[in-house]
């Protein structure tokens, strides 16, 4: 379901242009509003839909489940940490979904540039950046012993 923009709601702030991983959200040259320049290349990640502060971006539902008269709308609530979806079908059926966006408080994730540069020793380590802290496991990585391998879960 590629995305499209309601031109009357968009204020041309550029959030979707910044966030689109496919770089297909651009600013229209006539009206200075955002638009999806190539729906065929849309990854359908809905980053733009969720990021739009004006709720001006929508999803164009596929014809097999949401033909004429449908609507697929989403609402991101940062303070609650939720993303809600409302799917409206042509026959009037509505489906509502609420999901958590993330597990940490809004604004608590530091960008890579906020961290100190790694040392040469750290670069030679098997661990990736910020591990093991970033894995959220206290006391290092768990180690499996041979007799635990067939148990499935540590």
């Amino acid at each position: 379901m590629p995305t499209f923009v309601y031109m009357t709601s968009c204020d041309g702030c550029g959030h979707c242009v910044d966030i689109c991983p496919s770089d297909i959200m651009h600013i229209d040259k006539t009206y200075r509003r955002a638009y999806n320049i190539e729906p065929n290349m849309c990854w359908e990640c809905y980053s733009c839909v969720k990021a739009c502060p004006q709720n001006a971006i929508d999803c164009r539902g596929y014809a097999d489940f949401a033909p004429l008269g449908h609507s697929v709308r989403t609402l991101r609530e940062e303070e609650k940490g939720t993303i809600s979806w409302k799917i409206k079908f042509r026959d009037g059926t509505e489906k509502n979904f609420v999901s958590p966006i993330r597990t940490t408080p809004w604004g608590s994730i530091k960008s890579p540039s906020d961290y100190a540069l790694p040392s040469q020793e750290a670069l030679k380590s098997q661990e990736l950046a910020h591990e093991p802290e970033a894995l959220n496991i206290e006391g290092g990585l768990p180690a499996l012993t041979r007799d635990q391998l067939k148990q499935g879960v540590v």
Partner: protein, 261 residues
């Protein structure tokens, strides 16, 4: 320059009646251009279709008193304080430009019609407010133009790339900047005064005459869109958006931290 009425000084070269006729023509161009824009793009039809659609599907009928209250709230919030902008820099630049432009236009009209010649002494406050308004437009407009515009800040295009969407902001900045330069040169008796007067008039005519092709009329359309948004929230349709999440305590930052990896 701050204390002298530039239009009274101009009356030696151009008759007050001609200046007043020019202002009236500009007002007619804005009104006519907006009406043409509304008819050509069918924006009014789209607006009222949405309005009727929202009314028929709403869970709550918005009455006249409630509608008036919503209109007042829209005027106080979205119109007067540009609250719809999420970026505080963009909002500040917009407010500087908007209030500067209002001040600049109002004082221009008052000076042209009320104090068109040196014979009627102009209160010092008017040319001072005219200059402050013009400087405010320049501050907000150039800030927006060079640093905030999405096609520059987000898309990385050159600030000097011109597209049709720039017609309004470019003609506005050109008109105000050239007006300030013209007023300054005129107050100093420079020989370049006439040249800058001509450039000022060209830029101003483009600003007010290009309404159907520029974003000038957004100042009328955006408040209507903001009102429609408020009405859709009041009547329960919420532009088809989902209702606010009702169980945030089990989601987001309140959610138990995962222990797996």
């Amino acid at each position: 320059m701050f204390a002298s009425n530039p239009f009274a000084e101009l009356s030696g070269l151009v008759s007050p009646a001609l200046m007043q006729a020019y202002v009236v023509i500009m007002i007619i161009l804005v009104a006519g251009g907006t009406i043409y824009d509304v008819l050509h793009k069918r924006s009014a039809k789209y607006f009222f279709d949405n309005w009727r659609n929202s009314q028929s599907k709403g869970t709550h009928q918005v009455g006249g008193a409630e509608l008036t209250s919503l209109a007042v709230q829209t005027a106080m919030s979205e119109v007067l304080t540009s609250s719809e902008f999420c970026n505080p820099h963009r909002r500040a630049a917009h407010l500087l430009t908007m209030y500067g432009f209002i001040l600049y236009v109002l004082t221009t009209v008052i000076m042209v019609f009320g104090y068109p010649t040196p014979a009627t002494s102009t209160p010092t406050i008017l040319p001072t407010l005219w200059t402050i308004g013009a400087l405010s437009v320049c501050a907000g407009g150039y800030w927006f133009w060079f640093f905030i515009r999405a096609d520059v800040a987000a898309e990385g295009n050159s600030p000097f790339r011109l597209i049709r969407a720039d017609l309004f902001i470019v003609s506005l900045l050109a008109s105000v900047t050239l007006g300030l330069i013209w007023a300054f040169l005129q107050s100093n008796g420079s020989s370049w005064t006439t040249v800058f007067l001509a450039l000022y008039l060209i830029a101003t005519t483009v600003l007010f005459g290009s309404v159907p092709w520029s974003k000038f009329s957004h100042m009328f359309f955006k408040p209507a869109a903001a009102l429609q948004k408020r009405v859709s929230e009041a009547d329960g349709t919420r532009r088809n958006l989902p209702p606010p999440a009702d169980k945030p305590e089990i989601f987001g930052s309140a959610r138990r931290q995962p222990r797996h990896y």
